[in-house]
Structure formats: structure tokens, C-alpha cells
Amino acid sequence: MAMAIDDAFEVDFSCYSTSTTTTTTTDDDPGCTWNDWGSPVVDWGSLSSERDEFQDLIESMMDDGMGFELARVENETSNSVSVSVSVSTDTMVVDDETNSGDSKGLRLVHLLMAAAEALTGATKSRELARVILVRLKELVSPNDGTNMERLAAYFTEALQGLLEGSGGGHSKHLITNGTHHHRDKHHQSDMLAAFQLLQDMSPYVKFGHFTANQAILEAVTHDRRIHIVDYDIMEGIQWASLMQALVSRKDGPPTPHLRITAVSRGNNGWRSIGTIQETGRRLVAFAASIGQPFSFHQYKLDSNETFRPSAVKLVRGEALIINCMLHSPHFSHRTPGSVASFLAGAKTLNPRLVTLVEEEVGPIGDGEFMGRFMDSLHHYSAMFDSLEAGFPMQCRARALVERIILGPRIAGSLNQIYRSRNEDESGPWSEHLSTVGFKPVNISFGNHCQAKLLLGLFNDGYRVEELANNRLVLGWNSRRLLSASIWTSPPDSDL
């Protein structure tokens, strides 16, 4: 078969075995055996724990863990009560090498919190924030050290960006096209490799795609024409697997016609690897190669990214699906306004189904910056940990994913949190969909099982929860990371 598409798309959807061949050449780590995660060298069971490391770290800050005691001592000479502070680490003479990993991790978290507080707290001081970041940069590097240290390095960079950008104006430049002042422009091959690695090392990408695709398949069993409006198509791999499933479906009309309208930005921010047109060409070629009737359209948003539903070409009789993957590595360049506009516009089209995948946010207290900052720290700590747990030896590979994908995500995430810190708390998009009037669609038993099977291919630490009838959440240990929810238009608005 002449497949113009990368081998990466060789996902056999119905069999759940991702026999992706390694197409990356950048990682020549001898320890990297991508196809071996089915046969673990390490006993995963012993590695995964109920709580993730980060939570432990934070808890020990609050509690009296880590060999630290806070005892009360009655002072006999006076009636005052003095507090005895015992510390078991002598760190006044700070020699970084002598710090145990845990205490260093604590220290880094503490410094990050102090920097974030200095940047946004009640008593703001940019000068203090700057000084703390200088100190942090001395302590960490994105290339070596523990997960916590590398994570701290990326958060330091992100905070640095906030500090510098907060002088005024947009910070979009932070994560676009690798023009981030801390990094050189990422090479295309690096980006390709990193994205491939992320898919191979974790279920983060596939979880969203598979859950959405399964719901779509179930919704269009009797349809001859399917139209998907995709908010952020990226490389289009989600649709490769959907097409394969459509081609091989047993019941219902023979292979339905699939139309995809890809929504794209007019001017280019961080782009996917290649343009939308290239994605379209790839999908067209792939569809042709498997016999899937297919057409591809592009909808270019104007510069302020208002979605005009009237500009979307609709065909009578087609099942309209709205696909909203908000968790893509480079998602962060889409402003909330853009997303809101899209979803509002989508509502007026009365779609059959809306599939939404977004990052799951943890408890964030009063929704102010510090709470969301801590939550973000927790979130990405879990991601770093999950990658390490699955692939402890593949440091370079993980470092690449961290650098190309997670680092920019962190920067974008903090940017987002920072920009919206004085506004009313914006909740998850799933809540927004509910508010706007969409109705939940149950996630089928089969869909849920499929998710579990997917996770089973990776480390034991991953879990999936059904938090609502229409919502599956992927988590690592106790941390929820990704939410996939399914919706439909309210019944009486069918025209």
C-alpha cells in the first residue's frame, strides 16, 4: 500500500494493540525499546503507589513528616510557651549535592511557591520574584536531576516568562513556534519525535481520541454521511483510526461518507507539524488507501478567532459531530474566548454529538493564582512521574518529550492562569457546555472498557474513572489528568 502517511497512523483501532513502529530516529538511547513495554523489565506493581510523589511532598510540608518535629516545650522560667523547632537536616551550609532528594524537592517547591507568591500575591514584588527565580535557576536544570528538579526547571522558566511578560501586553510569544527566548526553534523532526514518543509512552493522546471516536461510531451507526468539525486537528491521527473503524464496521450502511472541516487559525501561532493543508492531504491519501469516501475542508478563523457557524458548509442528512480536543500539546495558544466562540457557534449548528477532551483541573481552593499554580505543579508532576514510571530507563526520550511538549504546556498553562487571575474563575469546558445547553450522552460500557484496556497497555498507575455518565477521566495514581466528555444538542432544537 502506498501510504503517504507516517507509520504512526498504523493504529489498529479495533484490536487495541498499538503496534506502532518506531519512526523516530532522534532517540538513540540504547535503553529505549519502544515495543517492549508489553514485557516489562520491572514489576510495575511494586512501583506504583497509591499516592503520587508530589502529593506526598506537599503533604509532608503540611504535616510533620520527613523527620521533622514541631514540639511544644514548657518553658519553666517563664510562663510563656516556647515552640521547639527540630530539624534533622543541616542545610545552613547549603551544598546542593548533600541534600537528599526529598528535601531538595521540598525546597524547590517552596521556592517556586515563593516566586509565584511574589509575582501575584497580596504584597507583590517583581524584584523578589526575579531574585528567587535566579536562585532557582542555580539549583535546577531541565536536563538533569530528578523529576522534581526538571519539573521545577520548567516551572522556573514559565514563571520567568510571566515575570518578563507581565510588564505588559500579550505573552503569546512565549509558546509560539519555539520563539520562546529560552529555547531555539524546535526542529520539525524533534517535534515529530516528541509527539510520537508521547503517544508511545503514555495513553494521554490516545485516551482522548479513542473515547471520542468510540462515541462517534456509536452515534452514527445508521448514518450514510458524517460531518466532523474539528477544532484543533493537528496531524489528524484521530481520524485515521476513526476511518479504519468506519471502513471495517459490520452493521449499518456500508462505509459512510466522511467529511472533515478543520478549524484553523488564520495567522499562525505554534503550529502542528506541518500545515493544515498537509494534514488534509495526508488524510485524503490515507482515506483513499483504505477505501474510505472522504473530503476535507478548512475553515480559517479570522484574527480575533470568532467562529461563524454560517460559514460552515452543511449538507442535508449528514450527522454533524463537533470534536473539541483541548489537550493537545500546543493547545495553549487558543484563547478561552476563541474556544467559547467556537462552542457557542457550534451550538447553533445543532450537532448530533459533541466530543470534548480537556485537562482536568484539581481542587483549586478559591480559584486564585496560587491555588491554580499549585494545582498545575501537581498536574505536571503527575505527568512527569507517569512517564518515568513507565519508562524509567529512557531518560533522553522523556527529556525530549518534556522539552518539546510538556515544557511549553507548562508555560502556556501558567500563562493562561496568570492572565485570568483577576477574572472570574473559568470552570472546565464541560461545565460550560452544560451551561450553554448541551445535554450529556452516556458513555457506553464498551467505551469505558476500551479505555481500561488502553490503560492496561501502560503502567499500572493509570486509571480511568467515570465521573459522570458522560465523562471519563484519565488519571495517574490519585491525580486526575484528562477528561473526555460526550454531549448532544437538546432534543427540541432539531430543525
Binding site: 503540611m62 516556647s82 515552640v83 530539624v87 543541616d90 551544598d95 514584588s125 528567587i132 542555580e138 481542587p363
Partner: protein
């Protein structure tokens, strides 16, 4: 790892039990992170201080200076405020910590001490240095270990003190800054004028200047038109550090006087517990001598309650002139109000450190040593109780106006002549810009040396 305890003194607020804060509470209890040495292990702390003193050890592996040249405004200020401590991160944190200590806010104290510890360095920029030295004092205050720390700092300084190092230090300082020479020149001028025509001079030098003031005076005496008078110099040393080197100094002074052709006698009095103990007899004051009492930075070392007595003692010596040189800061009237005293202390030393930063080169060893010397004074003023007998190490400075009030009880002020003022101005011209001579206002006495328009040193002359 030793597990040890330090006492953070507080009356009522105890945070022993409330650690189930949510992950995202605004005020985190940070006491679990405290990476500092507790006071019981002050030996370890003192080994740190010793390490700090040795050039080979740096507490932090590398210390990027946290200031960028554009951020660092020399002298600290806009609006000509030389020691503007308002915007700098170190002064903010330090003051907050002082307030927390005063409020006995345990968790805040811990948090700030921790943060200061992270960011401070005696080898960094001005902010980092101030943070480092004041952190030490705050820590001692919080853990009630000031006295021990002070004693340690003294013993460390004594161990590393030598004639050569001290001399080199003083001379280098005088070369780059008029901080000390200002007082010398003005005092010498006043002394020479007051003792003019006297055949037998007896100067009682109560200072730790290692006699760097006197060569110029000897020279002046030698080159006068009339007969060279006989000069007896009695040096009263109040710092133990200095007494060890006085032998060497006396030899040099005698040699110099011989060279100058000035009949000269040199005596040293040291080991005094209290200045007030001095008597005419002890000092060897003779009836036919014209006495000058010269106090350089000496009065501030007297315990506050004893200052009046000391001044009366001066009076009892029957001097023709008393010259007093002191640094312009008030750690005395605020000594029962920790936060106010702290802020004044910070203001003064910020000015001093910034001056050192500007006058010396970036990598100057002498600058480092001068900074280290400040640590004793800072700890003493902020973390030690006054009633502990510190043997002449009080360090509670007062402003010229305050000293004047005291001195007026026994003396009346003598103005400096135009000649002396001219000499001082000529001296200042030899240094970089920023230094000015300020004449007193109406009710003030003496002369002020100003650095970037802030008064830093005060010199005055008095007669009975």
C-alpha cells in the same frame, strides 16, 4: 544528622496543631521547611561563620549576583536618597521578618528566615550581603542565641586578626573612602588649634584606629614655625582585638616620631572593662600637660546608662579640648523597640554597604573584611540584651545631635575654624564624588560628612 532544638521565643501563638491546611490555603505553614541551624548547635553555626570567613569555602556552590547593573542604583535611591531601602527585596523581607519576630508570628518567622537563607549570600550583591548579615541577627534574635553568636564572632575575628591584615585594611579603606580620614583631619585640626603654643601635649586617644590619625598630626607639629612641643600619646584600646597589635604599633609610632623630630612618649591602656574606670592617675595625666581627649567611635561602645558618667570622667581630666567622632545613626533611643531599631540599623548599614560597594572594586578582599566586621555590631545591637556585660562592646550608636545633648552637660561646643573646614574639603576632593562636608544647622554642633547627601559621620570639638 543531629536532631536538635532551638527555641523560638513567643508568648502565646503556638502553631503546633493546625497542620491540616488544605493544599491551597493562602498562608502556608512553612515551619517544616526550615533549613536553618538551631541554636543548640551553634557550634555548627559558628563553623559556618568560620567557613564564611575562610575564602575557600562558599556556602553556596555558585552565587549569581542577583542584581543587574540596571537595577542596582548606587546608593540605593531615586530622589537622591542614598540609602533608599524601599524597593529592594532584601530590605522588604528583612523588615517583614523583624516585624514577624516582634509580633511573635512563628510561622511567618520561619517562612521569612527560610526565604532569606535561600537568597542571601555574603558574596553576592549588596542586597544579598545585607540579607546575609541581617539574617544572622534575626535568626539569633528569634532563637535567643545572640550572645553566643556574638562571642563566637568575636573569637573568630580575634583569631584572624593580625597587625598586617588590620593595617592593610585600614589603609586601603582610607585610600578609597574618607569615612575615617574625615574625622581624623577635622579632629587633628581642632586639637592643633586648641593646643597651640603649649609645650607639653598629652593626647588621650580613645579609639581603635591603630594610630592612623597621628602621623599627620606629628607632621604638623614638626613643621610648625615655633618650637616643637613634646607629645605624649596615651592610647586607650577598647577592643580586645586591637590590643594584641598595639606593641607593634607603639614601635612604629616611636620610630616615626623620631624621624619627625618630635619628642614623643607612647603609652597603651587596654583591658578596661568600663571606660568610666579611667582616672587621671591611670592615664598618667600630669599637671603641666595640655590635655586633649580624642574619641573616635569610642562613646558608642559605652553602655548607654554609663555614657553620662564617662563624659563626666572626661571633664575630670581637665582637657583643653575633647574631639568626638561618631557614625550618624541612632540605635540607642529605639533600643526597646525592636522593629524601629531594626529599621534604623538596616538603613545605616545599607548606606555603609552601598558605599563600600561603590568605593572598592568588586572583588576586593578588604571590602569583604569590612563587611564581616559589621556582622558583630549588627548581631550585638539587634540580638543581644544590653544588660549582659559585654565589656565595652555596646555598639549602640547615637546621632550627633544626641551626643551633643550629652556632651553639653559637661562641655561647650567649639566651632571648627575655616582653616580646618578647608582642610576637610581638600581632603574630600581627593576622593570620588559623592562626599560632601555639611556644616551644621542652627542648633547643631560639629561637622558632618555626607555620602550622597546623607549624613554618615559626625565630628565635633568641645571645651570645658
Amino acid at each position: 544528622m543531629k536532631v536538635s532544638s532551638a527555641k523560638v521565643s513567643k508568648e502565646s501563638k503556638v502553631h503546633g496543631g493546625h497542620h491540616k491546611n488544605s493544599l491551597h490555603s493562602k498562608r502556608r505553614s512553612h515551619h517544616s521547611i526550615l533549613p536553618l541551624q538551631p541554636s543548640d548547635q551553634l557550634d555548627q553555626w559558628s563553623s559556618v561563620t568560620v567557613d564564611m570567613y575562610s575564602n575557600h569555602h562558599q556556602p553556596q556552590t555558585s552565587h549569581t549576583s542577583t542584581s543587574r547593573s540596571s537595577d542596582y542604583s548606587a546608593g540605593g535611591g531615586n530622589n537622591g536618597e542614598p540609602s533608599g531601602t524601599g524597593n529592594k527585596w532584601a530590605s522588604r523581607l528583612l523588615k517583614e521578618c523583624a516585624r514577624a519576630i516582634s509580633d511573635k508570628d512563628s510561622s511567618k518567622i520561619h517562612h521569612l528566615l527560610w526565604m532569606l537563607n535561600e537568597l542571601a549570600s555574603p558574596y553576592g550583591d549588596c542586597d544579598q550581603k545585607l540579607a546575609s548579615y541581617f539574617l544572622q541577627a534575626l535568626f539569633c534574635k528569634a532563637t535567643e542565641s545572640g550572645q553566643r553568636c556574638f562571642k563566637t564572632l568575636i573569637s573568630v575575628a580575634e583569631k584572624s586578626h593580625s597587625f598586617d591584615s588590620a593595617r592593610k585594611l585600614i589603609l586601603k579603606f582610607q585610600e578609597v573612602s574618607p569615612w575615617t580620614t574625615f574625622g581624623h583631619v577635622a579632629a587633628n585640626g581642632a586639637i592643633l588649634e586648641a593646643l597651640d603654643g603649649e609645650p607639653k601635649l598629652h593626647i588621650i586617644d580613645i579609639s581603635n584606629t591603630l594610630c592612623t590619625q597621628w602621623p599627620t598630626l606629628l607632621e604638623a607639629l614638626a613643621t610648625r614655625n615655633d618650637d616643637t612641643p613634646h607629645l605624649k600619646l596615651t592610647v586607650v584600646v577598647t577592643a580586645n582585638i586591637v590590643s594584641s597589635v598595639m606593641k607593634e604599633i607603639s614601635q612604629r609610632m616611636e620610630k616615626f616620631a623620631r624621624l619627625m623630630g618630635v619628642p614623643f612618649e607612647f603609652n597603651v591602656i587596654s583591658g578596661l572593662n568600663h571606660l568610666g574606670e579611667l582616672t587621671k592617675e591611670a592615664l598618667g595625666v600630669l599637671e603641666d600637660e595640655a590635655i586633649a581627649v580624642n574619641c573616635i567611635g569610642a562613646l558608642r561602645r559605652v553602655a548607654v546608662e554609663e555614657r553620662a558618667a564617662v563624659i563626666q570622667m572626661f571633664r575630670s581630666l581637665g582637657p583643653k579640648v575633647v574631639t568626638v567622632v561618631e557614625e550618624e545613626a541612632d540605635f540607642s533611643s529605639t533600643r526597646y523597640e525592636f522593629v524601629k531599631c531594626f529599621e534604623e540599623c538596616l538603613r545605616f548599614y545599607t548606606c555603609y554597604f552601598e558605599m563600600l560597594e561603590e568605593c572598592f572594586t568588586a572583588t576586593s578582599n578588604e571590602k569583604l573584611m569590612l563587611e564581616r566586621e559589621c556582622s558583630r555590631g549588627i548581631v550585638r545591637v539587634l540580638a543581644c540584651d544590653d544588660d549582659q556585660d559585654n565589656e565595652g562592646e555596646c555598639e549602640r550608636r547615637e546621632r550627633g545631635s544626641q551626643w551633643s545633648e550629652r556632651l553639653k552637660e559637661a562641655f561647650s561646643p567649639v566651632g571648627f575654624s575655616d582653616d580646618v573646614a578647608d582642610d576637610v574639603k581638600a581632603l574630600l576632593k581627593r576622593y570620588r564624588s559623592g562626599w560632601e562636608l555639611a556644616q551644621p544647622h542652627q542648633n547643631e554642633t560639629g561637622l558632618y560628612l555626607t555620602w550622597k547627601e546623607e549624613a554618615v559621620v559626625w565630628v565635633s570639638a568641645w571645651k570645658p
